[in-house]
């Protein structure tokens, strides 16, 4: 039954990517309580900017421009910084004015930002998929990813790297939110903005910082995703963004370890369901939504419980 083991591992690998995005998502959602539809697009820009920094040249707006040809790690860091700033700008322009408006307005604004960014990316990079350059450390001389076999299961070193990064990020963010002063300020703002403001918390700054970190993590997830699937394209962010949100809900919205767990669970359910349910691989995309509906119907606070109340 090594096939089962392989399927399980497959699921965990996708799950890790979902988990990374979900962790970033849940941190932001916990505070501003807005489904940031544009999050998938920040993820997408993370991948594109990483590619840009790693390449020797790239076609922008139809013209070729020379590029720094940096290593993956440096490129990803730059992408994180740039996208982090993008996230802050978006929050300032499209979400902050609507902070006190009904959910509807903010959600529609988020959809607008998402559509806008998708098309901006298409205008800049074209609609074709762009190959992600091979990462020297993880690629063999023949151009194949370095991998090894373990008990009949094939794993690549890059996949392990993704797992490691995800765990580290999850731990870092959890510690940050639980132990630091800024983290406390974030949790306070998540609970009650008005009272926190009265207590001397600069809510605007807290939210901006949250967006900075969350978007940077999203960009990191994008860079890793691009590395795993060896490509980036303007529409790549929408589905992962959606699934990450579902994973976050599954784990308990606002709960960072919960999002991690939710991501892994979703990945495994998708992989195993696709492999073993009759007609599974055909209806694979529907699994995430079915899970969402079930969770919200029966246990809305998620697997690990929510830290934000349910009914507004």
């Amino acid at each position: 039954m090594s096939s089962f083991a392989q399927q399980l591992v497959n699921g965990l690998m996708i799950g890790c990517l979902y988990a990374l995005i979900a962790v970033a998502y849940t941190m932001v959602y916990g505070i501003i309580e807005l489904i940031n539809f544009a999050f998938g697009e920040l993820f997408m820009f993370g991948a594109f900017i990483t590619i840009m920094m790693m390449s020797k040249d790239i076609t922008l707006f139809g013209h070729t421009a020379p590029m720094p040809h940096l290593s993956f790690f440096l490129a990803a860091l730059i992408a994180m910084a740039v996208v982090g700033v993008m996230g802050v700008v978006i929050e300032r322009l499209a979400y902050r004015p609507l902070r006190n408006a009904p959910r509807l307005a903010a959600l529609i604004s988020a959809i607008g930002v998402s559509v806008l960014l998708q098309n901006v990316a298409q205008a800049i990079y074209g609609s074709n998929q762009i190959p992600f350059p091979n990462i020297g450390l993880f690629t063999t001389a023949a151009g194949e990813p370095k991998s090894f076999a373990f008990g009949g299961v094939q794993i690549t070193y890059f996949q392990l790297f993704v797992v490691a990064v995800t765990i580290v990020v999850m731990l870092l963010l959890t510690t940050f939110v639980r132990r630091t002063r800024m983290g406390r300020a974030m949790r306070a703002s998540a609970q009650d903005k008005r009272t926190s403001a009265l207590m001397g918390v600069n809510v605007n700054r807290v939210i901006a910082l949250t967006f900075l970190i969350g978007s940077a993590m999203g960009a990191l997830a994008g860079a890793l995703y691009g590395g795993v699937y060896h490509a980036a394209w303007p529409l790549m962010g929408f589905t992962p963004g959606l699934k990450a949100f579902i994973a976050a809900v599954l784990g308990g919205i606002g709960n960072i370890p919960g999002a991690f767990l939710g991501g892994l669970t979703l990945g495994v359910i998708e992989a195993l369901g696709s492999a073993y349910l009759p007609l599974g691989s055909q209806y694979r995309d529907a699994f995430a939504f079915v899970i969402l509906i079930l969770i919200l119907s029966f246990k809305p606070s998620g697997l690990l419980g929510a830290t934000v109340e349910q009914k507004a």
Partner: protein, 381 residues
């Protein structure tokens, strides 16, 4: 007659002044009712235009475009019931459109043609039946899909409805035995009535227009009734509404069902108009587009979606004439995104938005009422 609802223009907030009270006769009032004078003017102008234009314009392509606009007017109006009047952000609305379309396609193709082998042209009357039945099926689906969302608030509701919409599309793409999967169902006959075939573009347009006018009339009646007022109450403040004795669950389900009915009915029309149905007509982007029409035109009033549909689709077609847009089609998407964001930040009630919605949506006034709501909520619990 002071409290006769047809004479009080609450929507425009001018009841107190009474300056704009109009005493139109009951039928006109019912059709155009529940709206301010400004909105009535707009609708009258558009109606006149809608009837006259096909005769001024010689080319079929404009009439086809107008038919598409008319379809979207009904879809936007239907979604307006759910999103605009009741305040439920439904992102999976296109699924009900699909249900109506597939229903009629399956009846005509799978059942009649393939299974019984009859001459489907003889069954012209069935299309008219299907308009109603398709709508009812969609309404049933609406209530069914709405049920799990009852206990769930804003954002989650949006994603759940999105999920439903996607699930239906995925099923339609994969249940090959029923829907022929991605190949779609061809050969749906054009509408006919007692020997008259709706072959020409203009005749199809007028059929669509008739359906649209009927739908708008029905919607305006419902919205002006107790049901509509309950919906508005739910949108403004669900807790208070419940406290006032309104069964919010029941009215929410009714809202989904009603909105879905119109989508389903138009889906049936769509099938007979295009003569071919495939899952690619029911993508998520469609739901977003229909939502944009509602938002642009103005939520929570009858004329809003009409204007939204006319302006947006007309604008798209107009933009397509520019070479720059043809070469860089992303600009249309960028325009859509920008419009949505700018609208929400600066004019969330849309172009024709009523004062009432403006007050609700505007951050400043909203914050104050939030505070009051909090006080009420605390007092009640």
């Amino acid at each position: 007659m002071a409290d006769d609802p047809q004479n009080v223009d609450v929507e425009s907030g001018e009841a107190a002044g009474g300056r704009f009270r109009t005493r139109l006769n009951p039928i006109a009032s019912a059709v155009l009712g529940g709206t301010s004078r400004r909105q009535r003017l707009v609708m009258a102008a558009l109606l006149a235009l809608a009837i006259i234009l096909p005769f001024i314009v010689q080319e079929d392509r404009w009439v086809t475009l107008m038919t598409v606009v008319v379809i979207y007017v009904v879809l936007a109006s239907g979604l307006n019931i759910v999103v605009g009047f009741t305040g439920l952000l439904d992102l999976g609305y296109v699924a009900f459109y699909a249900i109506g379309a597939y229903y009629t396609a399956i009846i005509f193709h799978n059942v009649l043609l393939v299974h019984y082998g009859v001459d489907i042209d003889k069954y012209w009357w069935l299309m008219w039946v299907n308009l109603l039945v398709g709508g009812l099926m969609a309404a049933g689906a609406g209530a069914l899909l709405g049920y799990p969302t009852l206990r769930v608030r804003g954002d989650y509701l949006a994603i759940m409805t999105l999920g439903f919409g996607e699930i239906i599309r995925i099923v339609a793409s994969n249940w090959v035995g029923l829907t022929r999967g991605p190949s779609g169902i061809p050969g749906i006959p054009k509408p006919a009535f007692l020997g008259y075939d709706f072959q020409s573009t203009v005749s199809l347009y007028f059929l669509g227009l008739a359906l649209a006018l009927l739908s708008l009339w029905v919607i305006s009646r419902i919205v002006r009734s107790r049901v509509g007022r309950a919906w508005t109450a739910i949108r403004e403040d669900e807790v208070a509404a419940e406290a006032m004795g309104i069964h919010t669950s029941r009215y929410k389900l009714l809202s989904y069902a009603t909105g879905a009915f119109f989508a389903g009915m138009m889906g049936v029309f769509f099938g007979h108009y295009l003569n071919y149905i495939s899952p690619s007509s029911f993508l998520l982007m469609q739901s977003f587009l229909i939502l944009s029409l509602v938002v642009l035109g103005g939520m929570g009033n009858i004329a809003g979606p009409i204007l939204g549909a006319v302006i947006w689709i007309g604008l798209q077609e107009y933009l397509n004439n520019f070479t720059f847009v043809q070469i860089h089609p992303e600009t249309r998407g960028i325009a859509l995104g920008l419009v949505l964001v700018l609208l929400m930040v600066f004019r969330p009630q849309g172009l024709l938005g009523s004062l009432r919605v403006a007050l609700e949506m505007h951050p400043k006034t909203r914050a104050e009422s939030e505070h009051e709501r909090q006080e009420w909520s605390d007092a009640l619990h």
